[in-house]
Symmetry: C2
DNA sequence: GCTTTCCTCAACCGAATGGTTGAGGAAGAG
DNA sequence: CTCTTCCTCAACCATTCGGTTGAGGAAAGC
């Protein structure tokens, strides 16, 4: 389907039903039937949604008798986080430079350190 | 078009060309022509992409003579960040609770709560 | 064996998406 | 006023997407 992994993750989360599934899966693993129950669509539609999430690497399915328990995979979220953080750093860098120009070039003071807890690449 | 703001933001960033535009706009504002130049598509296509980004609130356009300078709007990224953080909190909460269960096993704890999930807000 | 439960695959459908081309508005340059 | 530049709107086209229904596989229960 769609090309790069990042596009797949963003596209997968662009659907509110899929986002809701992810939210619920963050609480507990669930079977396809359990996942489908609150929504007003067919089980097949939910199965399709799960395939999209699985292709994006957000979810994995194992096997337990006839059931296919769905499990949320956390790592892929880091892809997004990293991309967003990169943008954020660039934007801050941009404003920092603008600030420097307006302040007539100070030495190397960093007036706005990124307020983040460890997520740096 | 697509419904809620969060869906629009995710959908807007699901396209690699649009993500690249955002990356470049994080460095500096740009006109439509400047933005279109590196890509192998028509200017109209780029204009459409910008419309998607604008509808998502990621970008704003002003007017300078015939030119329409494009400016990146940072606030909307917080929508995503907040959603991701909420997921992260839930996931951590989940593992914390699992830890509690394995450690203590109280009486009236239901280890598999029925799918009475609240809708995602 | 047969049935039931849980789930996926396949085909189809309408709507949205990303691209094209062509026409045209808006504003500066001559 | 005319021309050029920059950009958007409109129509069209192929593909993808989210949904449906119908058929069927896999594993437990009878």
């Amino acid at each position: 389907m769609a090309g790069d992994p990042l596009s797949r993750v963003f596209a997968a989360l662009a659907d509110p039903t899929r986002r809701d599934m992810v939210t619920r899966l963050a609480v507990a693993d669930a079977t396809v039937g359990e996942l489908a129950e609150p929504y007003d669509v067919s089980v097949q539609a939910v199965s399709k949604h799960l395939r999209v999430l699985e292709d994006a690497g957000l979810v994995s399915r194992s096997r337990d008798a006839q059931r296919r328990p769905v499990h949320l995979e956390a790592e892929v979220f880091d892809l997004m986080t990293k991309w967003i953080e990169r943008y954020r750093r660039q934007a801050e860098e941009r404003y920092r430079r603008l600030d420097d120009v307006l302040r007539d070039m100070p030495d190397d003071v960093d007036p706005l350190p990124p307020p983040q807890e460890g997520q740096q690449s």
